[in-house]
C-alpha cells in the first residue's frame, strides 16, 4: 500500500512540474509584451526596456522559470501587471467562490448520477430505464450555459427563489452566499451527472453479469441487496475514473458559468486576465487549476486502492 501511495505521489509531482514548464513555455511563446501593455502604446522603447528590466523579463528563460516556479512553491505568485497587487491576494478572494462552487457541483453530480445509474441498471430494458437514459442523453447533448440560462429564467426570473447572478460574499452570511451559488452549481452539475449516470449504469450492468453476483443471489439475498452490497462497489472503479476526468471539465465549465452568473471567481479572473494580457495572473491561475486537477486525480488513484484490495497488494 505504501509503495502504491509513494508511486502515485511521485507521478503526481512529476506531472505538476511538467505542466508548469508547459504553461510557462506557452505563455512565453505567445505574442504580446506585458511591459509595453502596461505603459501603453505611446511609451518610448527606452521606457519599455527599463520596465522590462524591472520586471525581470530580460533574464534568461531558465532563470525566469526557476524564479517563477520557486515563487509558486512559496505561494508567492508575483504581482499582477494590471491591478498592481500581489496575485495571491486576487486568487485568495476568488478561490472562496470557485472552490465551493466546484465542490457543490461535484457532490451534486455524484448524488444525482449514482442513484439514477442504480435505478436504470436494476430496470434494464424497461420503461424506467429508457426514460432515465433518454433524459441523460439530453443532458449530455445540451451545453451547461444553456442550462444556466434556463435555470435563471425559471428560478430567478419567474419563481424569484434565488438571485439571477452576482455574489454577496461570505460576509453576508452563509445562506445568501450559498443561495447565489446554487443555480450555477446545478447548471454545472447536470451535464456531468448525465454522463456519469450513463457510465454508472453500464458499469453496474457489466458487474451484474459477473459470476459472483449469481453466487450472492444463491446465498438467498434479494436482488436489491445484491445490487447495493456487491455490485455497487465493484462498479465504482470506472465511475471514479470518469469522475476524476470530469473534474477538469468542471473547472473549465466554471469559466463560462461564472461569466453567465457574474460570479467573482477564478474563472472570471482568468478570463479578464487573458483579455488584459496579465500574463502573471494567467500563469498563476492556470497552475492553480492544474494543481487542483492533479490533486483530484491523485485522490481518485488512492480511492481505487480503497475500493479494490487487488491494487493494495500489488506492488
Amino acid at each position: 500500500m505504501s509503495a502504491y501511495l509513494l508511486k502515485r505521489l511521485i507521478i503526481a509531482a512529476a506531472t505538476l512540474v511538467l505542466a508548469s514548464m508547459v504553461v510557462f513555455a506557452v505563455l512565453e511563446i505567445i505574442p504580446g509584451d506585458p511591459a509595453r501593455l502596461m505603459l501603453g502604446m505611446n511609451a518610448s522603447a527606452e521606457q519599455v526596456e527599463v520596465l522590462r528590466n524591472q520586471m525581470g523579463l530580460n533574464a534568461p528563460l531558465a532563470l525566469r522559470y526557476l524564479h517563477w516556479a520557486g515563487g509558486l512553491l512559496s505561494l508567492d505568485f508575483g504581482r499582477s501587471y494590471t491591478y498592481s497587487v500581489p496575485v495571491i491576494d486576487l486568487v485568495r478572494e476568488r478561490v472562496v467562490v470557485s472552490l465551493p462552487l466546484a465542490l457543490i457541483a461535484l457532490a451534486l453530480s455524484t448524488a444525482i448520477a449514482i442513484p439514477v445509474g442504480l435505478f436504470s441498471a436494476s430496470r434494464r430494458g424497461r420503461a424506467g430505464d429508457a426514460i432515465a437514459m433518454g433524459v441523460a442523453q439530453f443532458g449530455v447533448a445540451v451545453p451547461n450555459f444553456w442550462f444556466a440560462l434556463m435555470l435563471i429564467y425559471l428560478f430567478a426570473v419567474w419563481l424569484r427563489l434565488v438571485p439571477a447572478g452576482g455574489f454577496p460574499g461570505w460576509g453576508a452570511g452563509a445562506w445568501p452566499a450559498l443561495k447565489s451559488l446554487l443555480l450555477p452549481a446545478v447548471a454545472l452539475a447536470l451535464p456531468q451527472a448525465a454522463i456519469l449516470a450513463r457510465v454508472a449504469r453500464s458499469a453496474l450492468i457489466e458487474v451484474l453479469n459477473e459470476d459472483y453476483i449469481r453466487t450472492a443471489r444463491a446465498k438467498g439475498m434479494p436482488y436489491r441487496a445484491v445490487l447495493w452490497r456487491h455490485a455497487l462497489r465493484n462498479a465504482m472503479i470506472p465511475v471514479l475514473t470518469i469522475l476524476g476526468l470530469q473534474f477538469a471539465f468542471l473547472l473549465a465549465g466554471t469559466i463560462i458559468i461564472e461569466n453567465v452568473f457574474y460570479l467573482p471567481g477564478l474563472g472570471r479572473l482568468l478570463f479578464q486576465a487573458i483579455t488584459q494580457r496579465d500574463l502573471i495572473v494567467v500563469e498563476s491561475v492556470v497552475m492553480l487549476l492544474v494543481a487542483a486537477v492533479i490533486a483530484v486525480n491523485l485522490l481518485v488513484d488512492l480511492s481505487y486502492a480503497v475500493v479494490d484490495p487487488r491494487l493494495r497488494s500489488r506492488q
Binding site: S2, A3, L6, E210, D211, Y212, R214, T215, A216, R217, A218, K219, G220, M221, P222, A225, R229, H230, R233, N234, V307, D308, P309, R310, S313, Q315
Partner: protein
C-alpha cells in the same frame, strides 16, 4: 419421499424451448448425477430449481422442494430457501467470489442474512465451516481476499458459502471442471464427506461421465433439453441400453486409431530443449528489498522427434504452459537453449525466427477466445501465411485455405463465414486448420480438447491422429487430462513444480508411474472403466 421432485418441467426463452418435460428426483443423502453435453439443459435445470433463470425464461411443470412448489413460490420464499435449504456451487471458482470483499465477509454474509446472527457469531460460524472445507485459520484467516487464493482454494470457499447453513440440497454445477485432476479429486472427496455428514441431497452436474459415475448413486442423462435415460448409475452404465448413453460412454473412452505408431530413435530430434529455465520477478516484500525471483521452469530438457506425439502433463501452475511459450518463442528463457530443426531459436530476433515459426504452430484451449469475431474464416485461417517467404497471391491463398479446411473436415464454403457461425467443435477444427496451413513440422496444442464435449472431443482427437499419420506432424500436447494423453501420444513427460520428474512411453508411465507427482496424477484421474467396476460391486 423425495427431497427434490421435478415433474414434466419445460422451459423456454422466447420461442426457443430449452427444457422439454424434464423429470428428476433427489432423495435426502442421495447423490444424483446429471450428465449431458453443452446445451443439453442441465445447467438450466439447476437454475430452475434455484429459480435463478434468465428474466425472459418461462417455465411450466412442477418443481417441488421439501413440499414447496418452487415455480409458484414468492420471491421472498425463494430468498429464504436459497443459501439456507438449497446451496449451489458453480463451475468457475476464479470468478465466483466478489473480488472486493474478504472471504470471511462472503461466508458470514449468508449466515447473517438467514439466521439474523450477530457479526461475531456469524464470523465464528464462518470460521468453523472454512476449517471444515480445508481452509484452516492459520493460513486462511477470514481477512483474506479471493485474489490471494488459488482456484482450488476459492472453490472451497464457494462450497463453504453453499454449505454454511447445512442445506438439505446442494446443487453443484460442474464444480471441478476448471480444476486440475488432483484438485478435482480433493473437491469431490469433500463433497462426498459433506453429503455423508449431513444427509444432504446432492445434484451433481457434469459433462464428465467418469466423475459422475464415481460420485453418483443415480444418474440422469440429458440431451437437447430432454431426459434420455435415468436410473441407478451401475445398471445404467453397465447396461448402456439407451443408444445415447452408449454413445456418450464410448466417446468418453475413445482412443483414435493410429495404425503406424511412432518408432523412437529413428531420426535426429526435431525439437531439442536443453537446460531451459525461466524466472519471473517475484513480489517485493518491502520497498527497498529486491524480490526473490519465482522459478516457473527449472532446468528442463526434452526432445521430440519428427512425427512423434508427446504429452506434457502436470497440475495447473506446474510450468507447462510457460515451457510451451518458450518453445514457441513467445517468451524468452532465462537460461538454456532451445533448438528446432537443428537451429537455435533462443535469443533470436523476430526476423530470424520466421523459418521456425513457419514449421511450428499452436492450437489453444479455448475455441471461443482464439478468433477475432469480426474477421472471416478465410482471413483467420490464412493468418500464419505471412511467415512464408513468398506471400501467396489471393487465388492461391484461397486455395490453401480451402485445402486446410478440407483436411479438418470443413467445406470450402465455410471460408466466407464468421467464427460465431460455428459450434465449439467446428471452431476447434478451424484453429487446427489455421495451425496446419503452413505445413508445420510441430504443433503445440495447449489443452486442445478440454473445453469440448466428449463426442466432439473424440472427433477432434481422431482428427489430430489422422493429421499425424497423413502429414507426419509431431505434437506436443499440454494437458492435465490423462485420458487425452493415453489416447493420442507416444511419450509422456510429467512436470511438477517447474521440473520434468518423469518421462517414458505413455502406457508405461500411466500404468506404472514411478515419481510421486505422476502417481498423484494417475490416482486422481477419473477413469470410467474403473468407476463402473466399483459401482457394480457396490450396487450389485
Amino acid at each position: 419421499m423425495s427431497l427434490l421432485e421435478i415433474e414434466n418441467l419445460s422451459l423456454s426463452i422466447g420461442d426457443t424451448p430449452i427444457l422439454k418435460g424434464v423429470e428428476l428426483a433427489v432423495a435426502p443423502g442421495e447423490v444424483m448425477g446429471l450428465v449431458g453435453e453443452s446445451g443439453s439443459g442441465k445447467s438450466m435445470t439447476a437454475l430452475a430449481v434455484m429459480r435463478l433463470m434468465p428474466f425472459a425464461a418461462r417455465a411450466s411443470g412442477r418443481v417441488a422442494f421439501d413440499g414447496i412448489d418452487i415455480l409458484a413460490a414468492s420471491e421472498d420464499q425463494m430468498c429464504a430457501l436459497r443459501g439456507d435449504d438449497i446451496g449451489m456451487v458453480f463451475q468457475e471458482p476464479m470468478t465466483a467470489l466478489n473480488p472486493v470483499k474478504t472471504i470471511g465477509e462472503q461466508v458470514a454474509e449468508g449466515i447473517r442474512w438467514h439466521t439474523k446472527a450477530s457479526r461475531a457469531e456469524a464470523e465464528e460460524q464462518a470460521r468453523k465451516i472454512l476449517d471444515r472445507v480445508g481452509l484452516p485459520s492459520a493460513k486462511f484467516p477470514l481477512s483474506r481476499y479471493p485474489h490471494e487464493l488459488s482456484g482450488g482454494q476459492r472453490q472451497r470457499v464457494v462450497i463453504a458459502i453453499a454449505c454454511a447453513l447445512k442445506p438439505k440440497l446442494l446443487i453443484a454445477d460442474e464444480p471441478t471442471t476448471a480444476l486440475d485432476v488432483v484438485l478435482q479429486a480433493q473437491i469431490l472427496d469433500l463433497l462426498r464427506d459433506l453429503v455423508a455428514e449431513n444427509r444432504m441431497g446432492l445434484l451433481l452436474i457434469s459433462h464428465d461421465l467418469a466423475v459422475v459415475t464415481a460420485m453418483a448413486d443415480k444418474i440422469t442423462i440429458m440431451r437437447h433439453g430432454e431426459v434420455m435415460e435415468a436410473g441407478d448409475t451401475a445398471r445404467t452404465l453397465s447396461g448402456q441400453l439407451h443408444p445415447y448413453t452408449r454413445q456418450l460412454a464410448q466417446a468418453s473412452m475413445h482412443v483414435p486409431a493410429r495404425p503406424r505408431p511412432h518408432t523412437a530413435g529413428s531420426a535426429r530430434p526435431l525439437l531439442q530443449v536443453d537446460g531451459v529455465t525461466r524466472d519471473y520477478p517475484g513480489r517485493r516484500s518491502s520497498l527497498f528489498r529486491r524480490a526473490a525471483p519465482i522459478r516457473a521452469v527449472d532446468d528442463v530438457s526434452l526432445s521430440i522427434e519428427p512425427g512423434q506425439s508427446v504429452a506434457l502433463v502436470g497440475r495447473s501452475g506446474c510450468g507447462k504452459s510457460t515451457l510451451a511459450r518458450m518453445i514457441l518463442a513467445l517468451d524468452k528463457s532465462t537460461s538454456g537453449t532451445i533448438r528446432f530443426s537443428g537451429e537455435t531459436i533462443t535469443g533470436r530476433s523476430e526476423a530470424e525466427l520466421k523459418p521456425a515459426r513457419r514449421d511450428m504452430q499452436v492450437v489453444f484451449q479455448d475455441p471461443y477466445g482464439s478468433f477475432d469475431p469480426r474477421q472471416k474464416v478465410e482471413k483467420l485461417v490464412a493468418e500464419p501465411l505471412h511467415v512464408l517467404d513468398k506471400k501467396p497471391a489471393n487465388a492461391e491463398r484461397r486455395e490453401l485455405v480451402a485445402h486446410a479446411l478440407h483436411e479438418v473436415g470443413l467445406g470450402p464454403r465455410d471460408m466466407d463465414k464468421y467464427p460465431h457461425e460455428f459450434s465449439g467443435g467446428q471452431r476447434q477444427r478451424l484453429s487446427i486448420a489455421r495451425a496446419i496451413i503452413t505445413r508445420p513440422k510441430l504443433v503445440v496444442a495447449d489443452e486442445p480438447v478440454s473445453a469440448l464435449d466428449v463426442s466432439i472431443r473424440a472427433q477432434i482427437l481422431d482428427l489430430f491422429a489422422e493429421l499425424n499419420q497423413k502429414l507426419g506432424i509431431a505434437y506436443l500436447f499440454i494437458t492435465h487430462d490423462l485420458t487425452v494423453a493415453r489416447a493420442i501420444t507416444d511419450e509422456v513427460l510429467v512436470m511438477h513444480e517447474g521440473r520434468i520428474v518423469e518421462r517414458g512411453k505413455t502406457g508405461a508411465v500411466l500404468d506404472h508411474p514411478q515419481s510421486e507427482a505422476a502417481r498423484a496424477l494417475v490416482r486422481a484421474a477419473p477413469d470410467l472403466h474403473r468407476a463402473i467396476a466399483r459401482r457394480l460391486q457396490e450396487q450389485g
